[in-house]
Each structure stands twice: as structure tokens, then as C-alpha cells.
Point group: C2
Chain length 151, copies 2
DNA sequence: GTTAAATTATTGCAAACGCAACTATTGTCA
DNA sequence: TGACAATAGTTGCGTTTGCAATAATTTAAC
């Protein structure tokens, strides 16, 4: 018999929510949300990115990301520029302050991950990551439709 | 060097969002959200539950769940009763219509899981589930504090 | 047995989200 | 070239969310 509480989607959500809650608290003193942190961490990794690419990476709607990046820009953590050779896109980059803050947060992120996988072997962690990647690629990206709403 | 895009929290969120998006679309024709589905599936599993227990299982705030269950009750999918021997708690149960709908959704959920883990062996899936459970238990439950807010 | 503390659920409120509509720019093709 | 389609971002709007405050009931303490 199929049990919700032993299903992959359920366990995935449960672990994801829990880990986000914990990290959320740890970065709250910097007035950052998890999504904001991910934007910063992503830019640290790639130096620059368009809004659309960031939205894909962070797994939020582009409209949400637009506002979120606006907030980060207002706080001088990132810069937004429209390149001269392409007036459609917006390039987002870390400012020096954004870089500094992101570096400061890295240890927290590593610590969180270490806590989460405590008791698991290196091989188990590798297998977990690969399973998570596989599931992501097994499922089709939504074109943009699809009620995500509750109630 | 620590990479966001190879970190467990990131991969976890990415897979979780994707799987929720897909399932959300599949159940949208029944006017159900994923959280609503989880409430129904949970009640199918346990017959009855209090709001607080449901909130734990579904990983949402109890205030959110209160309203969500209110909506389900309005649609006659669940019943809410305050027991005579305890006027504090609310017992939630599936109505016959709720049961019928839930049974109808089960194949969809099983199909989704099958799609998600396609290409993985039984052992890999088992290991995945156990890793997800371990991570959940490795992280402390938040007492109720902690900014989850964005922007 | 009465008062204080703890538990459980609901409601007010503001923030955040996603969808849809819109603007602006670039690409296509005839 | 000139019109039409496609891409990229922003903004309006209604819904959903979580936190905080509140109400109601039960448990604990004295």
C-alpha cells in the first residue's frame, strides 16, 4: 500500500522545508532570505548572470526574482546593468559589498550542509546528490503554466 | 571550493520545487494544491488527526493549515469536530467524498514517484529515502521563530 | 479548589508569491 | 526594409503565507 509518509516527494519536501527553515534563521540577522542567499551565492560562482538564468537556478518565478534583485540592488549588494549591445537583458553582478557579505555567509552554508548530512559517508552524500540531480532531470520543466496555488 | 550548485540544500530545493510543480499541475483539475493533497493523503493513512499533527506532517504553519482545512471542509472533503472530552483540539477526518477523491489521486502520486526515480535501482531509492529521513532528523525543529520571509 | 501556566486552534495583518498583462528590445522572413 | 514573432523584464493584482496576537480549553501548582 502506498504511504504518503514514505514517498519520495513527501520526504523530499519535508527535508527541504526543514533545512530551509534552519538556514533561514541563521542568515536572518543579515536580513536575507534563502532565495536572496542563493542569488548571491550563484553570482559568486558565475560572476554575472541574467535575471532569467538566475530564476532558473534559484527555482523561483522571474517576476519574483525581478523584485528580489531590485531589493538587493537597493541595498547595494548587486548591480543591474543593461548591456549596450543588448537592451533587452539585465546583467546582475555582485558589488564589493555583496561579495564581502557572500563570503561571510559561506561558512554558514558549509556548516549547515555538514549538519544535515551528519552520519552519512562520503559515498552516501555523493549518491544523494546524484539522486537529486537525476530526479530533477527526470521531470519536465514547466513552461510557465500550472497552478501552484493553495486554497 | 564550495559550490552552491553542488550543495545538498540547493539540489534538494531544486528537486523539491520541480516535483511539486509537476504534481501541482496534475492535480490542478481537482482544484487541489499539493499541501491539500498531502492533508488528504495523510488522513487516508491515519484515519484522523489533529491540526497540529497535520501541520507537522505537511510541513506548513498551523495557521496556514487551519485555513487550508477550512477550505477542504467547505468543500465537504474533510470534517472537523471538537471532541467532547477535549474542547481544545480539532479532529480532522476524511468524508466519504474526500476518501473517494483521495483514492482517485493515489495512482497519480505513484506515477509521479515512478517518473521521478526513473533509472534508479530499488536500492538507490531506498538509500535516497533513508538519506532524506536522516537529514530531517539531523536538523532541529524550529520552535516557531525564524524569519522565512523574502525581500 | 483556585489561580497560573501550557496547549490548541483561529484571525488580523503585512509580506511574498505567481500569473497575466504590458513594455521594450531583438530576431525573423518575405 | 518593414511587419510580425519571439525574447526579456517589469508591474498590477489577487492569493497564500507566516508571524503575532487572541480566544478557548486543559493541565499544573500551590
Amino acid at each position: 500500500m502506498y504511504k504518503l509518509t514514505d514517498s519520495v516527494p513527501y520526504l523530499l519536501n519535508r527535508a527541504g522545508v526543514r533545512i530551509a527553515e534552519v538556514f533561514s534563521q541563521r542568515i536572518a540577522e543579515n536580513d536575507l532570505s534563502v532565495a536572496m542567499y542563493r542569488v548571491l551565492a550563484m553570482l559568486r560562482e558565475r560572476k554575472e548572470s541574467t535575471l532569467g538564468d538566475l530564476a532558473d537556478v534559484v527555482s523561483v518565478e522571474i517576476s519574483t526574482l525581478s523584485r528580489l534583485v531590485g531589493t538587493l540592488a537597493k541595498r547595494k549588494l548587486v548591480s543591474r546593468t543593461r548591456p549596450e549591445d543588448n537592451g533587452r537583458i539585465v546583467i546582475v553582478r555582485l558589488t564589493p559589498q555583496g561579495e564581502a557579505l557572500t563570503e561571510k555567509l559561506m561558512p554558514l552554508a558549509m556548516e549547515l550542509e555538514a549538519t544535515a548530512v551528519q552520519g552519512m559517508s562520503k559515498e552516501e552524500v555523493t549518491a544523494l546528490k546524484s539522486a537529486l540531480k537525476r530526479m530533477h532531470s527526470n521531470l519536465p520543466a514547466m513552461s510557465g503554466k500550472g497552478k501552484t496555488s493553495d486554497q
